[in-house]
């Protein structure tokens, strides 16, 4: 049967109908989109069909950015903001992971804390600004607290979801080999929850960056958030956009770093 017969009259190729539904993403298009958008904005503001009230000229934003860099203030702003971000997010995320794991493991903790987290989640942190001053003072404390509070709830939700999703059959395996409770948590539950925790952290860190502005409403002299707020209150669009661009870059950097960590720590994934 594997030998070929003489070709019969009505032979035709089987039509191809597969393929598709697997979008790839060549890098250059992303770059091109940014270039096109920025050029449009530049052209529009130069030729006047975009009013200077609506959008600053991209080249002016770049200039502002260079001035900021040259004045040395960029680093002054960035360093305090980064410190706030790191301390606040580290605090919120580590407490969040710990709480999430406890919720994932203990019925009573779950029953008590899940409704509380659900109630805390939709509270806008900026509404509580005046209280944060009273609770944590106007120094770094209140800024750390605000960012920590904002990252805490999403981290908790992501973490206990991740613990819930750890393959129960692996846990049964651990029990069937008489592993201690603590061994099971340390060697099976935590590593198994790691992918979920890391992807939760992606969201938490984006929220932390967003909250930077709210945190720096509280008596901050330096910081990207304070810089943006001041630019906003003076309706200085160039500086506003320069600040926003910095936050945006910060967000992309954070997300890239987590991607790297995932690639390294979760190399065992299929």
């Amino acid at each position: 049967m594997s030998d070929l017969h003489s070709p019969s009259t009505a032979a035709r190729q089987v039509t191809f109908r597969g393929g598709g539904f697997a979008p790839s993403s060549p890098r250059w298009i992303g770059v091109a989109v940014f270039v096109v958008l920025l050029s449009l904005a530049e052209l529009g503001t130069r030729q006047g069909w975009i009013s200077p009230l609506t959008l600053p000229r991209p080249s002016d934003v770049l200039l502002t950015f260079q001035e900021l860099y040259a004045s040395g203030l960029l680093w002054a702003h960035l360093s305090v903001s980064l410190t706030r971000l790191l301390v606040g997010a580290a605090l919120g995320a580590s407490l969040g992971v710990a709480t999430g794991v406890l919720i994932g493991l203990f019925s009573y903790v779950r029953a008590g804390l899940v409704p509380l987290t659900a109630a805390l989640f939709p509270i806008p942190k900026i509404a509580l600004l005046p209280l944060f001053v009273i609770w944590f003072g106007i120094d770094e404390g209140s800024k750390y607290a605000l960012i920590a509070f904002g990252t805490f709830t999403p981290t908790v939700v992501a973490t206990y979801g991740a613990v819930d999703n750890v393959d129960r059959s692996l846990i049964r395996m651990g029990q069937s080999f008489n592993l201690s409770w603590f061994s099971i948590v340390r060697k099976i539950v935590l590593p198994g929850a790691m992918p979920g925790i890391l992807s939760g952290l992606r969201i938490s860190l984006a929220i932390a960056i967003i909250l930077l502005v709210a945190a720096e409403m509280l008596g901050a002299e330096y910081g990207i958030g304070a810089y943006i707020l001041e630019a906003g209150s003076l309706y200085d669009l160039e500086r506003l956009f320069a600040g926003v661009t910095i936050l945006s870059l910060l967000g992309i950097t954070m997300s890239t770093i987590i991607g790297q960590i995932e690639r390294r720590v979760l190399s065992w994934r299929q």
Binding site: M1, S2, L4, A10, V14, G19
Partner: protein, 255 residues
């Protein structure tokens, strides 16, 4: 309608999967393909169904399909591929809707294929309510609904437990005996191959080549569980494959 593969080879990037496969699938017969894991059986089947294109060689269909045939080359998948949000009935009507078959005409076809697969009582059930064997029978019913010229089956029974597998094999033999269909049946299971195949293509391990084609002349409905001559063929096939299988199983998966 026959199908012919001539000189088909394929590589993914530089990873050679199939090498120079030539094969004819004659109308009204079941051709089984066996071979060790990763030798390219599924890839070959995707070429036959037009879901993928080989790097080299041709896949030809010879002669026209019957006129009442809605989808000449029709798959039955290992994982059933049922839409979990549609009922049994909805899963079958899915493949009719695009041909404009609705209403009473669709009802007629659906009732017929459900009866042939003994599923008439379960038309309204959702996939999650069905056992594995029933799910695969729904997939078979769906394939029958489009009246295929050739059925392409990729390990259709391997997700089932062996008892259900036995039952479904009986069902397939019954279906074929009543109205013979053409099928290419990929399997890992030599018992299935000797039970259902008019001819059995044995492939070497990757890059897959055809090692031997074994013919079985005994009519399907006379083949029995534990027939000595079938056992003989099966033993012969197992000898052909044993070393290949052991080598394939001891290879690290490329990731």
């Amino acid at each position: 309608m026959d199908i012919r593969l001539s000189g088909v080879s394929h590589s993914y990037d530089n990873f050679e999967v199939l090498r120079d496969i030539s094969l004819e699938i004659p109308s009204g017969r079941i051709v089984c393909i066996v071979g060790p894991s990763g030798c390219g059986k599924s890839t070959l089947l995707r070429f036959l169904g037009g879901l993928e294109k080989p790097s080299r060689g041709e896949v030809l269909q010879i002669g026209a399909p019957p006129s009442d045939c809605l989808n000449p080359l029709t798959y039955i998948f290992q994982d059933f591929a049922l839409l979990p949000w549609r009922s049994v009935r909805g899963n079958i009507s899915l493949v009719l809707e695009d041909h404009g078959i609705r209403g009473a005409r669709a009802d007629g076809i659906i009732a017929d294929v459900l009866a042939r697969t003994k599923l008439s009582d379960f038309a309204k059930a959702l996939p999650k309510q069905l056992s594995g064997g029933m799910k695969q029978r729904v997939a078979i019913a769906r394939a029958l609904a489009v009246n295929p010229a050739v059925m392409l089956m990729d390990e259709p029974l391997s997700a089932l437990d062996s008892q259900t597998r036995e039952l479904l094999m009986d069902d397939l033999v019954n279906l074929w005996t009543r109205t013979p269909f053409t099928a290419v049946y990929v399997t890992h299971n030599l018992a299935e191959a000797v039970r259902l195949g008019h001819s059995i293509v044995v492939m070497s391990r990757r890059p897959g080549e055809i090692r031997e084609v074994v013919h079985l002349d005994k009519p399907l409905d006379q083949r029995q569980h534990g027939d000595p001559d079938l056992e003989e063929k099966q033993k012969y096939l197992w000898q052909l494959m044993r070393e290949e299988a052991r080598a394939a199983d001891a290879e690290l998966v490329h990731v």
